[in-house]
Symmetry: C3
Subunit: 160 residues, 3 copies
């Protein structure tokens, strides 16, 4: 294992994930689709379905334009209670890498603060990512969100 | 971007933040002010105020001596329920850097265990930091704590 | 401090901790004992006991075979409610290192999702580790888990 290369790979991963979380947690939703390829996929599947091999998604956005549309809709059309997320990402592991890109898994815990001012756990789960190198940096070819939390107290509005 | 320099910068940041959390989570409060410059500032502002441009702080300590005074007061004068924090820091991002220092943002989730033995989310929010290099390592010129959680169940005693 | 060596040391630590969490969070329990030495020790002590110098453990497994036995028992003999953990590790600090190995402390927050689908904080606390270098990578000579959370809602089944 080349130590310098390995270090650099994890540092770039950490940067991508920090940027991703900042888009969602610091209310910079418009920047979120830009971390995906043009044909990038964002998919949410429950743990139960995923474990049994059924990948019927709760949410499926299969291009950057669909992600942008989702953000536009959140800003302009959807009605939902004001809320703020805060992500904690942990256990980042590169599970495969080749010239074509990286496969990476990690864990997330997302807490949510509603307008009443209380903070509660919103959702926990895993990210399973396919990432590719682009001239602009690492980008998501696919982010598969497998959520442990089958029951959430409010509608899913902002992506995880 | 110089890869080695960039790697080193993030490693030193991680070390500073780990030390900061250990001061608060491992009951080593006396070491906490030492991570600030002599004229370092610690400020807590609510998300609501911050978003609207009002920076009226819930708490403002504007020198290392004031931070020490706060710790002395916590140890000797204040009455509050015994509690233990546990910080999870995520999404560390350098947003600006120059010869003068670094600007860094990150997310925190703090859980609290009271003497009854239950652990609950205490507070979530962002740190916005101004850091400078000193002969002793990176130090806080300012730590601005913007808390999402407007309602907390107990008095704020120990800093976040 | 040798910057490259220091960087490399923390990267390897992060990898070990990510692997550790993946064993527990991704239901790969059988891989968990393999991160310990043959005579490795896994011990859980309450914060209250630990602070007063009493190290009477809630759980003590003092060899890799005992860890394996625990996993076998969880898979085949114990009766407990289906659950899934999700670890957030933060504040990793090397507190001592020599040719013999590393001493490292860190903080954990573990959330749990039960079969009803709700996610709650299960436990928070500190890991105090003794690690040694082996041909297979860093391994646990001892993991001491000091848990802040004295009251948990369900039996402890899966290790923390």
């Amino acid at each position: 294992m080349d130590m310098t290369e390995e270090t650099w790979r994890y540092l770039r991963l950490d940067r991508l994930y920090a940027d991703y979380c900042a888009c969602l947690d610091e209310d910079r939703l418009e920047d979120w689709p830009e971390l995906f390829l043009d044909d990038g996929v964002y998919k949410m599947v429950s743990r139960e379905n995923y474990s049994q091999g059924f990948q019927i998604p709760l949410l499926l956005l299969d291009s950057k334009n669909m992600l942008r549309d989702r953000v536009y809709s959140l800003r302009n059309a959807n009605i939902y209670q004001a809320h703020r997320y805060r992500h904690a990402i942990s256990g980042v592991r590169i599970t495969a890498h080749s010239d074509a890109g990286l496969e990476v898994s990690s864990s997330y815990i997302v807490v949510q603060t509603l307008s009443e001012g209380f903070t509660e756990i919103y959702q926990a789960g895993s990210y399973y990512d396919q990432l590719v190198e682009t001239p602009d940096g690492l980008r998501f070819k696919q982010r598969l969100v497998v959520y442990d939390t089958a029951r959430i107290k409010t509608l899913l509005a902002t992506p995880i």
